[in-house]
Amino acid sequence: MTTPSLGFRIFRGVMLTVFAVYFLLPLLSMLDFSTRGHGDEGRNWGAWRALVENKDLREAIIASLLLALFTVLLMIVLLVPTMIWVRLKVPGMSRVIEFLCLLPLTIPALVIVVGIANVYAWVTYLFGDSPLTLTFAYAVLVLPYAYRSIDAGLAAIDVTTLAEAARSLGAGWLTVIVRIVLPNIVSGVLSAAFISVALVLGEYTFASLLHFDTMPVALTAISKSDAATAVAGSLASIIVVSILLLGLSFLSGNRAPDVEGVKE
């Protein structure tokens, strides 16, 4: 490839800087805003301390973290065995499963919320009125992203041969799934888990309209009286989510050379 001209390189540098400033400015302003302090007091971390000290907020943050954990568990329990099973025993269903998994991309979360009232009346009846019941709705929400990650993991290995080998040595189906295939698709499952956590920590539509106090809902509530704390909480969640998602891109970036056998 030819080296770009000097003029283009200068233009590119300027443009990339403009983009960088545009994307960084709101984030930096959150840091400034959240440490500004009330009234005349100087710069301090009071708004950040409130994240732990405010009881409602603390409970909401814990609820969101638990929700992320349970959503990942439910997603893995539902999706991984199903996807392995489809590959091994009923490949004819793979298009149907793929279609169903990607469906939540086309049906806005808001639409599901509008129609889910009856279902949640039953969920509340069976499991009580805890925010953790949102796990079910969130498992649907993360499905398309989780499906793609796990599918990429499964595509990278020869599931059929592995399963045949294990079965001919006398392994049961549970053993095949849990002890043979699962360890081989760990990076795919891990990607799925990361993106699920990221989505759950930021989810607002379901929680606010079904009246459950998760972190984003609590931050919105507190923003009316204490904007600095709301901004601090948002920045904290952005940092956590960014670390997860950057870790994810690192994971998938590292997987490619293994498959190809060569590094660029």
Binding site: M1, M15, L16, F23, P26, L27, S29, M30, F33, S34, L78, L79, P81, T82, L88, K89, V90, P91, G92, L100, L103, P104, L105, T106, I107, P108, A109, L110, I112, V114, G115, I116, V119, F136, A137, A139, V140, A163, E164, R167, S168, I195, G202, E203, Y204, T205, S208, L209, P216, T220, A227, S234, L235, S237, I238, L245, L246, L248, S249, F250
Partner: protein
């Protein structure tokens, strides 16, 4: 289920299933999918069907077109128009700027660290919507915002105005923040798929750089570009959280109109209006996504 089942090769389309016992096994195999399918039925299909049926059901439970007719009220039409305006404008602006950014990133060359870093950051920012994004812009542009105060004390410029951030204009500015990175994510593969050989071939035939772009590059990229733009449109149209936090009064866009239909306890029959509005949303997004899939297939023809 036995080892011999596995020994048979994966069924090719048209191959009859294994004899006798095999058929019973395959029925059992389908049963193993039941937990997953049952879960989706309860938490995805039932709510969606509830919306579709509810849109045509009156207060008394009977069939009615009243809810759908309510969609043509001035308020509902106005919200739909504003929604389309918001999604359309942010899709166009996001697509153009995103395409420029992905061209700049790709021109850095495949080994560039900056290129990998920018793509990773775009992956993060494309997911960065909702409550947190609203607060980011409030901390930047609201009346006490960092930029508002800085510009006011430096040059006496008032960018807060009369609170435009909390209306439709504010939504446009905020949505663009996640639309550009999403465009970079979905458009970069297509841009990357333009083979350098095609350019060399064009140059060998005597084409100038602008001729190459006008007659080869842009026509090839058009379906991918339009498809990405549609995806951005659907993305903005379905977004709710950012707008819900930013706009606390009035219902400028359809998602907020749905919110007030859901939470209103003053007006009777609002729940059914909510169903009708949600159905409208399904239809718009479904049309857009169908067109997207169509354009994606055209792009796939030359992208390997």
């Amino acid at each position: 289920m036995s080892v011999s089942d596995l020994a048979t090769p994966a069924p090719v389309a048209g191959t009859p299933p294994a004899i006798g016992a095999g058929r019973r096994t395959s029925l059992g195999s389908y049963l193993a999918l039941l937990p997953f399918l049952g879960f989706l039925l309860v938490f995805l299909i039932v709510p969606t069907v509830t919306v579709i049926v509810g849109a045509f059901r009156g207060e008394d439970g009977g069939f009615t077109l009243g809810n759908v007719r309510a969609l043509t009220s001035d308020a509902a039409l106005n919200a739909l128009w504003k929604s389309i305006l918001l999604s359309g404008s942010t899709a166009v602006i996001g697509a153009v700027l995103g395409a420029v950014l992905s061209y700049l990133i790709l021109s850095l060359g495949p080994r560039s660290l900056l290129r990998r870093a920018t793509l990773s950051v775009c992956g993060v920012l494309a997911q960065f919507g909702g409550v947190t994004l609203a607060f980011a812009f409030i901390s930047l542009l609201a009346i006490n915002g960092v930029l508002t105060q800085a510009l006011d004390s430096w040059i006496g410029l008032d960018i807060y105005g009369s609170g435009w951030l909390f209306g439709l204009n504010g939504l446009i500015v905020v949505y663009i923040y996640f639309q550009i990175p999403l465009m970079v994510i979905v458009f970069t593969p297509a841009l990357e798929g333009l083979r350098p050989q095609w350019r060399e071939a064009a140059v060998n035939l005597g084409a100038s750089s602008s001729q190459y772009w006008r007659q080869v590059g842009f026509p090839l990229l058009t379906p991918a570009f339009l498809g990405s733009m549609l995806l951005l449109f659907a993305n903005a149209f379905a977004a709710y959280a950012t707008a819900a936090v930013l706009v606390s009064q009035g219902n400028p866009i359809t998602p907020l109109f749905i919110r007030s239909a859901l939470t209103s306890e003053i007006l009777l029959g609002q729940a059914n209006l909510g169903f009708a509005l949600a159905l409208q949303m399904i239809i718009v997004v479904a049309i857009v996504m169908a067109l997207y899939a169509l354009l994606l297939r055209r792009t796939a023809r030359w992208m390997r």
